[in-house]
């Protein structure tokens, strides 16, 4: 255990070992095609090998928490769309769940089912994009990403017809959802889910057995389970290291206990496992979606007692969390009885998953660093908030 805690010395002096030639200090900087946004890594390279890697954050720090303290609970809901801008509906759900915990609100049955359906669609869409960008980082520029985005557009059409916006849905409210399903949405969703199942077989046939993908990702960026747990890594990255921890099964929030779905676990903890875990999670999500769409109950979508205007929860604090596609997304709200939250804190899964980036990339080639960062799946809106 102690080896993990002895974090490497971070002082950034120029390290040049004898005879090994000088070290090249390089910034894989804020503007770089493979950093998924404005993320910067200060890297010390010995030839091609990484000797030290220091992530630098803050280039997309948009002060979400400070702005949230100056406005009411409800007006922060559209801001949660812009946290992890790939999965706006799971962000909404995490925030709504926490406020319901804080104020003790009930959510009607139908709204819970709609939340599960939209969250699982978001998870599928997020994993598709991740695999597309991971292959793009590996050099397959364009083709896998085109496939992934073609399917993503179908899911975005569903979101647009349901919530009115493709990416920024702002759909959930404290105590339910904003609007009921439009007519015909259910059949459309079922067709998309069947289409996705067929597409996944085609996608896997192309990628999973591909030896270039295997050569570039197996035994690369290995993360042991003890190091992952201690560093607060959550989500598919943690399960790829073999730790069976999924907030849907642990907290049993929403109506997840009514669906039987399995949690895929990896045993090497390398980049190939993370890729495979996400593909398997997509299959599990499709299983959940089929069952949820089949027995979606009737009833109100919004808790009649919930008041939107002038919502003042009692003084207190609450920490709510859900299994977002990238990991455990948590909100910590402290209220002092006024309509504005006293303290509004977002627990970003991407930032926590980056804690172990240096351990995974130490001693690897520079090209592997790009692939490892791709498999960690970060979104800067959530990392920097």
């Amino acid at each position: 255990m102690s080896a993990i805690l002895e974090t490497p010395v971070r002082a950034f002096e120029s390290v040049s070992g004898a005879g090994a030639g000088e070290m090249l200090e390089l910034a894989i900087g804020p503007h770089h095609p493979s950093t998924h946004g404005v993320f910067r890594m200060d890297v010390v390279l010995d030839g091609e090998r990484v000797r030290r890697l220091k992530p630098v954050f803050g280039y997309l720090h948009r002060n979400h928490e400070k702005i949230a303290e100056g406005q009411s609970y409800l007006s922060s809901m559209p801001y949660t769309d812009r946290l992890d801008y790939f999965c706006s509906l799971t962000n909404n759900w995490a925030y709504a769940l926490t406020v319901e915990k804080l104020a003790g609100l009930q959510v009607p049955e139908r709204a819970e089912y709609i939340r599960v359906i939209t969250a699982e669609l978001t998870r599928v869409q997020n994993h598709l994009c991740l695999i597309g960008f991971l292959l793009q980082d590996m050099g397959a520029s364009g083709t896998p990403l085109m496939y992934a985005f073609r399917e993503r557009e179908k899911i975005l059409d569903l979101f647009e017809s349901l919530t009115g916006a493709r990416m920024m849905c702002n759909y959930m409210r404290f105590g339910g959802c904003r609007v009921d399903l439009p007519t015909g949405w259910m059949e459309e969703a079922q067709q998309v889910v069947q289409g996705l199942a067929r597409f996944l077989d085609e996608f896997e046939a192309l990628l999973t057995g591909n030896e270039i993908l295997m050569a570039r990702t197996q035994h690369i960026g290995v993360l042991s389970s003890a190091a992952a747990v201690n560093a607060g890594v959550t989500g598919p990255m943690l399960r790829a290291s073999g730790v069976n921890y999924d907030v849907r099964k642990v907290d049993r929030y929403g109506v997840y206990d009514r669906f039987d779905f399995r949690i895929p676990l990896g045993d090497h903890g390398d980049t190939y496992d993370r890729y495979l875990i996400r593909v398997l999670e997509m299959r599990e999500s499709l299983k959940i979606l089929r069952v949820a769409l089949r027995d979606l109950p009737e009833g109100p979508v919004m808790d009649p007692k919930a008041r939107l205007r002038g919502f003042r929860p009692k003084a207190g604090e609450a920490y709510g969390r859900i299994e977002a596609p990238k990991g455990e997304l948590g909100f910590h709200l402290i209220s002092d009885g006024s309509p504005n939250p006293f303290r509004y804190r977002v627990r970003p899964p991407s930032l926590m998953n980056l804690t172990v980036l240096e351990e995974m990339c130490m001693g690897r080639m520079l090209a592997d660093v790009v692939v490892i960062l791709g498999s960690v799946d970060i979104v800067l809106g959530e990392v920097d908030r």
Partner: protein, 221 residues
Amino acid sequence: METLEEICFRIKTALPAARVEIIPNASPCGQRSLLLGREQGLAVATFLRDDPQLRLDYCSNVTGVDWLEPSLPQGFVQSPSSAGLKKEAGEGLGESGTGCLEAVYHLFSMAHKNGPVVLRLRTENRLAAVRLPSLTPVWRSCEFQEREIFDLFGIVFDGHPDLRRLLMWEGFQGFPMRRDYLVADDFECEPTPHGDVPKRMSPRQGCAEVIQKTATADPRV
């Protein structure tokens, strides 16, 4: 999972010198928290992680909170019954009654898969004594979150391997998330034909002398 009282009792038996206190939480979710003394913070954290029954091996979230007015800590979590408790404890409140900075840790156990145990560590006051023990040697997930709290609130974490600003740039002065921080005034809203928008806005003077008033000295030094 054990109730908070049992955990509190076990901590006191294991570490007699530790000062532990249960903070009630008036919200329906009932997540009460444990207020730890600063000196024994690291020892208690190590105990919570290594204790076989608890095994709180996963620190999910670290939040920085800025209690500006002294009265607020009781007001926020104060349930009438424990009002008396606050008087003789006395430590929970900033000694000089000037409010305090606080770091809240949410601990979970991945081994036993059970719910949050909330720890609170408070500084003496908000201006000079803003030092807290860092829990990064116990849980590595606190590393970035403590750096962020240092960056936005100004709490200095002793024992942190690499305490630098996480989000703002190095030369930045001031701690933006504090409640008395005034934003520099380049937010001047474009004047509209009605003209009186700037007057209605809350006082946001960014002029130099106002900014000097807030704590800008680099506490690390």
